[in-house]
Amino acid sequence: MIRTGIPGIDEMLGSGIPKGSKVVFSLEPGVDGRPFMYRILRTVLSSGKNALVIAPGATKTAFCSDVSQLMETDQRREPGRVTVLDSAVRDGINSRSRGAKTRLKEWQKVIRETIQENAIEVLFVYFDLLYEDFGLEPALRLLPSGEEGRGLVTIVEHLNLEGDSLVSRFVSEGSFDLIISLHSAISTIPFFNFLTLEYVSWSQIPRRSIPYSAGGGTLRLYIPKIIVTGPPSSGKTTFVLNASDSGLSSDRGDADGFRTTVTMDLGWLHLRGFDIHIFGTPGQPRFDPILPQIFRNAMGVIMVIDVTRPDTLPRARELLTLAYAAKMPVVIAANKADLPHRMNERQVRESLKLKEDIPVYFISSLRRSDVHSVLESMIDHITRLSS
């Protein structure tokens, strides 16, 4: 396995990319693939592995300078070595060889020799000029196969001007072991970028889209909205505040000293490589008209119930219908399990009429570790499991 160095992606893939795999980052025009390519390159070099970069559109100096600027590091100081086949190599081959077949053979020769001479373990390819020079299938043949490569990992960046049809072709023809497409969500204003895990050959991970943010050489996957909901006084605010690295509660007390959430609780945390925003809803039915809007565009729902109060479960069932309607992953946090209670998992499942694949965790939301185990389960559901 080689690690990508991008925590969220390594988490999603298990622990990285198996040896001998071919990976493609398919870029929508305008989306920056460099944070992914450069991060993996840096991770590879820092682990002492040697890398070959095929960058037919740039000079070696321009490429290395761009890596240094974006990653704010000097790759020459890493224990692994990088070799670059750059625009000068392409110009040389184009000027020496007439005809695409001869040029293709020369590229194959120079790639094979460079890999052998430099003990290359990871190959990085900027693909679109090769695709343009030779066509798709011959250009794909330039990428060493598993047998030729002897464990070589190939990472390809491709400016995809053909859209979904090319990605579908890559999937159906098994051209790559891992296909990730990068998109920008631009409307009238620039919004955010997101990646779609289109295909993984070594794992049963369903197609998933995750927003991400990149800047200053760092790259973070982003789960913009997880809803924490449940009946009144089930412990949602405590859950949100204990889950968060920074959070805000809108609890207000009445004349009798009873406190309740009057709008929303907000929390932010970084967990398992993901930046996550969590939104705690109020529990009283009088807020129901606003809940569909709060649920909109959420990626998952955590239902907090109070196991000492079975009488509140009908309200939880009402709230679950909203999550089911939005077809979002659901995790049940059976809270206050540290207090005397009589409910077990079977009773919770029966009362809430839960499907078998919805996990139930008996927790105390006062304990951060309990709360995080619920969130980790939710991250798995969002990123790795079928909903």
Partner: protein, 235 residues
């Protein structure tokens, strides 16, 4: 809806400017004012911003040119596809970004997005008139150069993606192309993405332009000149 004044009286008086999402192709022979005509149309008016993809001039020369023709370059972002060929270590600034060569369509797309984000983030100087979304004119000073580096089909697909983005952003695109360098098939494919076409030609008494694609606007050839204040049509 915002309307982009072109500085060409024939268009601005009849149509009151161009609607957002318009794409203007300037077809001009070599050694003509086609490229400068493009800069004139791309000039940002108060409250507007311009982005220029320069495949011909280095950004330092372009900034000098803007000063010489009295164009306020503080609201212009430049994607420079020339300088990095000779100075590979050069670093991006807020308003000037570099790509390795005109063949680097990936880089051009990235720098375009980055400059648009900078405008929306308020990193360009404001002009006092704050409009939302900020009107943006995007100018490719030489489609000719891009077509020399990449295949027609690739450039077509790339422009298709860019024009779709401009439409979403309610911006306009301006593209200069040397009509003597390419065959009819190339020209007609590029024209498919355009809403307005301005043709330029030389004659003994100066340069003439003709506007196509705007109903109600005269399609006759008219003489024009470009001065510090902009473009002047001589009727």
């Amino acid at each position: 809806m915002y309307s982009y004044k072109t500085g060409i009286r024939l268009i601005d008086e009849v149509k009151e400017g161009l609607s957002p999402g318009s794409n203007i192709l300037i077809l001009a022979p070599a050694m003509s004012s086609g490229e400068n005509l493009g800069y004139s149309v791309a000039r940002p008016l108060p409250g507007e911003y311009s982005l220029v993809l320069s495949t011909v001039r280095r950004s330092v020369d372009l900034l000098e040119f803007f000063s010489s023709v009295n164009i306020d370059h503080r609201r212009i972002g430049i994607i420079d596809a020339v300088t990095k060929l000779s100075t590979p270590d050069i670093r991006d600034s807020t308003q000037v970004c570099y790509v390795s060569s005109p063949s680097d369509l990936t880089g051009i797309g990235i720098k375009f997005s980055s400059l648009v984000e900078s405008i929306f983030a308020g990193e360009f100087p404001e002009s006092g008139d704050t409009l939302f979304p900020p009107p943006i004119r995007f100018y490719i000073d030489s489609l000719t150069t891009l077509l020399m580096y990449r295949r027609l089909e690739v450039i077509y697909q790339f422009l298709h993606a860019i024009t779709a983005k401009l439409k979403k952003m309610e911006a306009i695109g301006i593209y200069a192309l040397n009509n003597e360098s390419f065959d009819e098939k190339t020209l007609s494919l590029i024209k498919q993405l355009m809403t307005v076409m301005i043709e330029v030609k030389h004659e003994q008494n100066g340069e003439l332009l003709r506007i196509r694609g705007l109903p109600g606007v005269s399609q006759d050839w008219v003489r024009f000149g470009i001065s510090e204040t902009g473009l002047e049509v001589i009727l």
